[in-house]
């Protein structure tokens, strides 16, 4: 079995693996990754996507420095939704916004 899942064979896996175009692997909680409507569709569709079976998604057009930011956003989003805490600013380095926007456009989040 996979070292990073609670149990295989029928049980819902709590982590998913997102792979950037340059081969970096990001392991995030499934619940977090579902922030992206696209990932949600890919993971819950009826067996259309290969990703469904392995809980891995390959993003051939998203480089690691962008994908890492997206993963950070997932955490940020989950942490501050429905909370009573003041929502802090989410920092985005000035070099990446365009690439980030393209990725977000695809990921729908």
């Amino acid at each position: 079995g996979h070292p990073w899942c609670r149990g295989c064979g029928g049980e819902a896996l709590i982590y998913v693996k997102l792979i950037s175009s340059d081969g970096h692997e990001f392991i995030v909680k499934r619940e977090h990754a579902l922030t992206s409507e696209t990932i949600k569709t890919m993971l819950s569709g009826p067996g259309h996507f290969a990703e469904n079976k392995t809980n891995e998604v390959n993003f051939r057009e998203i480089p690691s420095h962008v994908l890492s930011k997206v993963c950070m956003y997932f955490t940020y989003k989950i942490q501050y939704t429905n909370g009573s805490k003041e929502i802090p600013e989410f920092p985005i380095a000035p070099e990446i916004p365009l690439e980030l926007l393209m990725a977000v456009n695809f990921l729908d989040c």
């Binding site: 956003y73 939704t81 989410f90 985005i92 980030l100 456009n105």
Partner: protein, 503 residues
Amino acid sequence: MYLQDSFQRRFFRMNVQAPPRLLELGAQCLLRNEALAIMALEELPIELFPPLFMEAFAGRHTEALKAMVQAWPFPCLPLGALMQDHQPHLDTFQAALDGLDVLLAQEVRPRRWKLQVLDLRRKTHQDFWTLWSGMKVSVCSLLEPEPAQPMQKRCRVEAQAGLKPEQAPVEVLVDLCIKEDTLDETLSYLLKKAKKRGKLLHIRCQKLRIFTMPMHSIRKILKVVQLDSIQDLEVNCIWKLATLSRFLPHLGRMGNLRRLLLSRIHILPHTTPDQENCVNQLSAQFLNLPHLQELYLDSISFLEGRLHQVLRCLNTPLETLSITNCLISESDLTYLSQCPSVSLLKDLGLSGVNLTSLNLESLQVLIERTSATLQELDLDECGIMDSQFSALLPSLSGCSQLTTFSFCGNPISMAVLESLLHHTMGLSKLSHVLYPAPLESYEDVHGTLHLGLLAQLHARLKQLLCKSGRPSMFWVSASPCPHCGDQILYDTEPILCPCYLPD
């Protein structure tokens, strides 16, 4: 109140606490360096234009806005929908228009120039921005400008067919309300641009409202508007007839006008040949309005005895004719009953036109002529007496399409009301009748309305309705409040005027 936050930020603050979408955050970050953002437009996928534009508009990034208008990848930019909740900052609006200006200043149109229509109307394309910022949708469906009336489209195509493709003008769609001496700043800026760019920028205004404003200012504005785009015009000024005559040439060029309302135009007590000329000029304009369907003449003091003169040039069948708060003569009514343009009327209104001393035979004929099409009839405040009203009943009973009949403010007795009820029983589409409190519900000489008596009489009418198998027909009595003159409605219970209610 100026728009400080983006759409979504506002939305989130009003609802459950949630961080903004990454799309929004990314757009805001990109715009922090405007130069970079502008460069990025070259590679930006078209689906990202709307959310980026929204952020630029909300965040007042004027340089980016200017560039985005030029690079706009859709045929239509529905800017009005972004401005509907509050007035935009002047600089933001100006930036958008400046962007358009730069586009128009180019001698040769670049291939990627897509923008054809800038829609400033507030209520159109309301879904465009929320859909684009929220979800991805197929590109085609949302991007066409609001479907124009078939006539307009044809005209526009014909007009453009003669021009080389590069010269087709950009259209700015806007509804205009012109009032007071000073123009709204955003409107002034728009008009300035239009004047500057002439043939390249066309202002198309479907709905035009003119309130009191000096004629020379009005004419200045009308000179930069495509008059053939105007379909709905309301003129609500206190004009002398002479002033109207200076407006008429413009009216004559509104060839696609469908709805015209003229209100409060006066004539001096003694007629002069000049004034007769003006009336003829007005009537001649109707020759140039082949699509006119709705005509409202309110408080036109020269109408009496001249209805024939005014309406004789109408060359289309009207759907709505409303003559209100005017005096008319018997000859006017006779003309109306024979006028070729009224045979297909759906909506006839004569409220506030005193008919007490007139022979209403012509009105009877008019109602008969329109009985196949008439849907709404309004005879409020006409001073129609029992005998006159009774004479109208047979023709009313033939109005098979009638849905609404309103005749408050006429001194009618209960007997005639009951007779009306019997005559209209067979009108299956008649659902709403607004009737005056019958004479019997007024006590003593002073004519004070007695609600108790009214209640009894109303109940009797309701009973008759039920007995005749029309219990759901909505008969409501309406009378003026003795304090303020506003209407009090009465159906089963009085719906009282607010001035009756304790504070």
